[in-house]
């Protein structure tokens, strides 16, 4: 298929762009296979480059022969294009509609994008499992899933207990949802406790058992130790899952484990929550009562609180109770990953560095089989009833932001990094978030055909932009507060386009300035001291004085 077939009108002059809090721009609108470009053809005004894949939905309006297209983006931006001429407007809108909803992954921009920057380190090789898991005592990397035959959503290499052989893993995989047998997620160096994740056990209504599953899970406990199974569903939901062949671990069969049920929402509920939240944020005319009630009704903040609380609980079991933890929900690809990844942010200072956080996203989201392509195919403005779309990853980022707000000096990265990940998860020139699993990525030959987001991030200029000037390595476990008073609306994402951020940006610059100036003076003083020391050694007289 040629993109040209979809582009009915490649170019229109005299188009006016309206954006909140920015001056309007008049210029020429161009459509390419992957971009919507508006250029005023003047040097001093910026151009608008919008990826078609960033467009969530469009609306058309006509006043006489002047048409307007309202473009709602997945990054929550809303812009308006006034297009003279009804035919042009209709052509443009139908072209955008077609181009922003391409079915085939291989037509996506990352397959056409050629980097305009020097790749210092190929991000596709930056986070290999063998570099991360190799040193964990009592654990090994199994190749049982090399050809994705045991579990379609797992990566080729997974960490499992040393004592458990691949045959056992194959058997266990038949007892777990989607073949997701328990694997190592995190190893707590401080006390050797671990966190594992899996899909739900397929006990069904007649209480099926799997000896190998029990053996595997128990093999993760040290002698005399006990563990917790955190089921991200309520008891009721977990009970109901039995009717569909799922279920949960009966304590009788897993006597060394205690099960805790939490109430994390399933993905379709989360999508609804996002839509409601963004709708509330976008209506400037609300009264205070209406705003607060809509904020409450969206349940977004409740979801943040529940996810964070569950992650804290998992971390608490590991660090404070000295117990190992197994986390699962139904599929083990959504709420499970929110919990396991956030628990690591809390427990492991490495995850709070820029590189460590990339590693975490790579391990716990990309390799762990979070279906990014499905979940991020639509954002808050989708008109269709959500089926597979859900802001699971965005909620994770929101929770990280909450912890960052409470420990502003303990993260190497700043808020921009989280916003960047949000944007690229939904629309990107990089291949990192394409596909739903390692198997998909391998089939699409992403490492060969596309550029990794990490290649872009891990360059000095970008690292500088994303780094937190307040950072001071903090080796401790950080326990966030989950009180409603402590959890804030993530303005940097949800109010980003609805208010002027000028004053807040200035404050940030001022903060950077204060710190830079201090460093500069330190360097001066230190170099003077060095000079002085040199003089002293050269000049014995000075030494005596």
């Amino acid at each position: 298929m040629e993109f040209a077939e979809l582009i009915k009108t490649p170019r229109v002059d005299g188009v006016v762009l309206h954006r909140p809090f920015l001056p309007t721009v008049e210029g020429t609108l161009c459509l390419t296979g992957h971009h919507l470009i508006l250029s005023s053809r003047q040097d001093n005004t910026e151009e608008l480059w919008l990826l078609h894949s960033n467009i969530d939905s469009i609306e058309k309006r006509f006043v006489g022969s002047l048409g307007s297209i309202i473009v709602k983006c997945k990054d929550l931006r809303v812009i308006q294009l006034d297009i003279p001429g009804m035919e042009e407007c209709l052509n443009i809108s139908s072209s955008i509609e077609a181009l922003s909803t391409l079915d085939s992954v291989s037509l996506m921009y990352p397959f056409f994008y050629r980097p305009m920057f020097e790749v210092i380190e190929d991000g596709w090789n930056s986070f290999l499992p063998q570099d991360f898991y190799w040193w964990f005592y009592e654990w090994r990397l199994s190749e049982v899933n090399t050809d994705f035959s045991v579990c379609l959503s797992y990566p080729p290499l997974v960490a499992v207990p040393k004592d458990v052989d691949d045959d056992t893993l194959r058997k266990v995989s038949t007892f777990r949802h989607g073949g997701r047998f328990p694997v190592l997620s995190y190893y707590h160096k401080k006390n050797g406790m671990v966190m594992m994740r899996a899909g739900q056990p397929l006990t069904g209504t007649n209480g099926r058992r799997c000896k190998e599953d029990e053996k595997l899970i128990n093999a993760t406990l040290r002698p005399g130790k006990r563990g917790y199974i955190i089921d991200t569903r309520t008891v009721n939901v977990a009970q109901q899952a039995k009717a569909r062949g799922g279920g949960f671990e009966l304590e009788a069969n897993y006597p060394q484990w205690r099960r805790i049920h939490k109430a994390l929402e399933r993905s379709n509920v989360l999508q609804d929550s996002l839509i409601k939240l963004v709708e509330a944020c976008n209506d400037q005319n609300h009264s205070m009562d209406r705003w607060l009630s809509k904020l409450e009704a969206s349940s977004w903040q409740s979801n943040v609180k529940e996810i964070l609380t569950t992650a804290c609980l998992a971390a608490q079991c590991i660090d404070r109770e000295g117990a190992s933890v197994l986390v699962h929900g139904t599929e083990g690809t959504d709420s499970t990953l929110q919990v396991t990844s956030l628990a690591q942010i809390i427990l492991d200072p490495t995850c709070r560095t820029i590189r460590g956080f990339q590693g975490l996203v790579e391990r716990e989201w990309l390799q762990a089989g979070h279906p990014f392509q499905q979940r991020c195919s639509q954002s808050a403005f989708s008109n269709t009833k959500p089926r597979v779309e859900a802001p699971v990853f965005l909620l994770f980022l929101d929770c990280v932001w909450q912890i960052l707000r409470q420990f502003p000096c303990s993260f190497e990265f700043c808020e921009s990094f989280l916003v960047l990940l949000f944007e690229h998860a939904y629309a990107s020139q990089f291949g990192t978030f394409l596909g739903n699993s390692a198997a998909d990525r391998s089939k699409l030959s992403l490492p060969e055909k596309t550029v990794s987001l990490w290649s872009w991030v891990n360059r000095p200029q970008e690292l500088e932009r994303l780094s937190n000037p307040l950072y001071e390595a903090n080796s401790l476990v950080i326990w966030p507060s989950v009180a409603p008073q402590s959890l804030l609306l993530w303005e940097g994402v949800f109010l980003r386009w609805n208010r002027s951020s000028k004053c807040l940006d200035e404050a940030y610059e001022e903060m950077v300035h204060i710190i830079e100036y201090n460093k500069e003076l330190q360097n001066k003083v230190n170099s003077l001291r060095r000079q002085l020391a040199e003089l002293e050694t050269e000049d014995p007289l000075l030494q005596e004085s």
Binding site: G224, R258, C281, H286, S287, M288, D289, W291, S293, L295, E296, S299, Q301, S302, V304, K305, T309, T310, C312, L313, A315, Q316, C317, R320, E321, G322, A323, Q406, P408, C409, S410, E472, N474, L476, I478, W479, S481, V482, A483, P484, Q485, S486, L495, R499, S500, K502, C503, L504, E506, A507, M511, I514, Y517, N518, L521, Q522, V525, L528, R529, L532
Partner: protein, 645 residues
């Protein structure tokens, strides 16, 4: 450490002592501390001796809002103390009899019947009389008026109220239009509630527009007053560039109409030449009191869900009221700065909503009021001198509960909301607002005693008490906002805040001030302040390096190590994430957590067995109260414990 010394050097006469009292942690009640509760004439002091570490919690009696004794339980008799600075203390006293006694004593001590009993008259810090007198000279409102360029050819200082004869709730010195003669002023005052005639609050040198304030006119359904009409005309004439003025009634229209039946009301546009009349619906003191009470109940909920909190916040209406006050301030500030039109503001008596709106408008208009000295001047002018009834509104004495209302709280919160939107525009940080708030209620300083200037003179406040302003100024380094830059663009001129509902936030720093676990564990403000201090030292070193050899003392440490010295041991404890799931389980981690889940007699909070693991450091700094030596104490005096440990 400091507190311990205080205790020794400045022994309070102990009225009674109760042993084996438990102080419960509000967030997780399982964490409690056992100690002795001492009652003195001015404070209740809860002293814990744990492993040789002494830990004190001081509660100033004038800050006690209520003490509530609950039904006895097998573990003792609960006594819950609510403070006006939003601290809540939950004691359990072993014997009901003792609880009863403490409760009675507290009720008596916290609700004095006469001004003479207030703390400010017995508060005697180590300051000699000459210095004490100087404290009161620190702020002089005349200086502020001359800063505005007054008196000038348009506005004059009127001696008409010198002896509080025209209005006993107004200050002695007032600025009025040059053309307003004493008969006009007196005539106008007779047509206004409590004689509160229109007088100047703020004057803009640049365009001559002014904010004036008064009480409502006694217009009833049809009454007129020639002098009052002349008075308004005089105000209009004092703004040569403008041919009309706004009259802003800050009440909801219905309330104002209801007042007409009582012979009061609002200006009829037909009777006054060239006025534009405007209602701005800010609710009355009773609505505000109930609203804050509801909000505080929400803040106090024990592990509320997000919905509980947001629904409660919404139904309290608090943020809606804050928005209404700020909206009104914006309307006036824009009229003055953008249209160059003068405004007369009133409500009913002109001492509550009027004070709020005038002072918010001043903060928006004039960068001076966003400095440390400026905000003090503003409170002195629009609140203290114009007769906001502090003693009634803050319940300083045992009085009519219907007179109590958090009017000044709302002003302070409006300033805080603005600080959130303009982080570089204010010289002071949130800490200054919180400290001022605390002292408005503490009665430790004479500034806020009484209901108007005349009362303060009669009480001899200047002669017998200390002034908060000079105390704050002495410590003003503690209140500096490190991001403030006087030359910054957002610092200049009129502030144009967003008033979209989502721009208003819940002020955790004030209303949950004492719930340290809720606050960020690391404070950017403190970090930057430490860096700036170090920068200053470095600048000094650089400036003097030619003469003097650089001392090798500093610079080896990174600033962050210094700034966050405590944080490195930043220990913080997990909250109750478990809904009691884990905490009910037996203690030792190696023990089975599963076999005896019903045993709830033991707590297994690991934090408790390990002192160094408790919350400390950062959270402490971020809500540190710089209240002076002898005043209220942080709820948990862990600082002392840690420096000793």
């Amino acid at each position: 450490k400091l507190k311990e010394t205080m205790w020794k050097n400045n022994p309070k006469k102990i009225l009674s002592a109760v042993e084996n009292v438990r102080l419960l942690d509000r967030v997780s009640p399982r964490r409690s501390r056992v100690g002795t509760l001492y009652l003195t004439a001015t404070h209740s002091i809860f002293v814990v001796n744990e492993a040789g570490v002494r830990n004190e919690t001081w509660v100033l009696h004038s800050l006690v809002f209520s003490a509530e004794k609950q039904a006895a339980t097998p573990s003792g008799c609960p006594l819950i103390i609510h403070c006006k600075n939003f601290q809540v203390l939950h004691f359990v006293i072993p014997r009901e009899r003792e609880c009863h006694d403490v409760h009675l004593s507290l009720q008596r001590l916290s609700q004095p019947e006469s001004y003479e009993e207030l703390y400010c008259f017995s508060y005697k810090p180590n300051v000699d009389e000459v210095e004490r007198r100087q404290e009161w000279d620190f702020l002089d409102l005349k200086t502020d008026y001359s800063r505005m360029g007054l008196p000038n050819s348009l506005w004059k200082l009127s001696p008409v109220n010198r002896h509080y004869k025209v209005s006993d709730t107004y200050p002695a010195d007032l600025f009025v239009p040059e053309s307003a003669t004493p008969p006009v002023i007196v005539g106008s005052s007779k047509f206004r509630s409590r004689g509160r005639f229109p007088a100047l609050s703020y004057y803009s040198k640049e365009n001559h527009a002014a904010i004036c304030r008064s009480s409502q006119p006694l217009s009833g359904f049809s009454a007129r007053c020639l002098e009052d009409e002349q008075m308004l005309e005089a105000i209009l004439r004092s703004n040569p560039c403008s041919d009309f003025m706004y009259v802003v009634d800050t009440r909801p229209k219905l309330n104002a109409i209801a007042n007409r039946a009582a012979g009061k009301g609002y200006e009829n546009e037909d009777n006054y030449s060239n006025i534009k009349f405007q209602f701005i619906g800010i609710e009355n003191i009773h609505v505000m009191r109930n609203s804050q009470q509801k909000m505080l109940e929400v803040c106090e909920l024990r592990s509320p869900s997000m919905s509980d909190f947001l629904e409660g916040l919404e139904s309290s209406g608090w943020l809606k009221h804050i928005k209404a006050v700020l909206d009104a301030g914006i309307f006036i500030a824009k009229a003055v700065a953008e249209e160059g039109v003068s405004v007369l503001v009133h409500c009913s008596d002109g001492w509550d909503r009027t004070a709020q709106v005038c002072s918010v408008a001043s903060v928006l208009l004039d960068p001076y009021y966003r400095t440390i000295r400026g905000i003090m001047v503003l409170i002195e002018k629009d609140w203290i001198s114009f007769g906001h009834k502090f003693s009634h509104r803050c319940n300083h004495l045992d009085g009519d509960p219907k007179e109590v209302s958090p009017v000044i709280d709302q002003f302070l919160e409006c300033v805080w909301q603005l600080m959130e939107q303009f982080p570089c525009a204010f010289e002071f940080s949130e800490r200054l607002l919180i400290t001022i708030h605390s002292h408005i209620y503490s009665c430790q300083y004479g500034n806020f005693i009484g209901n108007n200037q005349r009362e303060r003179i009669e009480l001899g406040v200047r002669e017998r008490t200390h002034s908060l302003w000079s105390h704050l100024w002495t410590n003003h380094a503690d209140y500096i906002n490190p991001l403030y830059r006087p030359d910054h663009s957002q610092t200049q001129g009129l502030l144009r805040p967003s008033t979209a509902p989502y721009s208003f936030k819940f002020w955790r720093g004030l209303y949950n001030r004492f719930d340290r676990g809720m606050h960020p564990r690391q404070s950017v403000e403190d970090y930057l302040r430490a860096i700036q201090e170090e920068t200053q030292q470095l600048e000094e070193q650089l400036a003097s390096h030619k003469q003097v050899r650089l001392s090798s003392a500093t610079c080896d440490k990174s600033p962050t190590v210094r700034a966050l010295g405590n944080d490195l041991s930043l220990a913080n404890t997990p909250q109750d994430y478990t809904d009691g799931f884990i905490t009910n389980s037996p203690k030792a981690p190696d023990d089975s957590l599963i076999l005896q889940p019903q045993d709830s007699s033991q707590t297994s909070e690991p934090s408790f067995s390990n002192g160094s693991d408790q919350e400390s450091g950062i959270a402490d700094l971020s809500c540190r109260s710089p209240l002076s030596e002898d005043s209220t104490r942080d709820p948990d005096s862990d600082e002392a414990a840690y420096s000793a440990a």
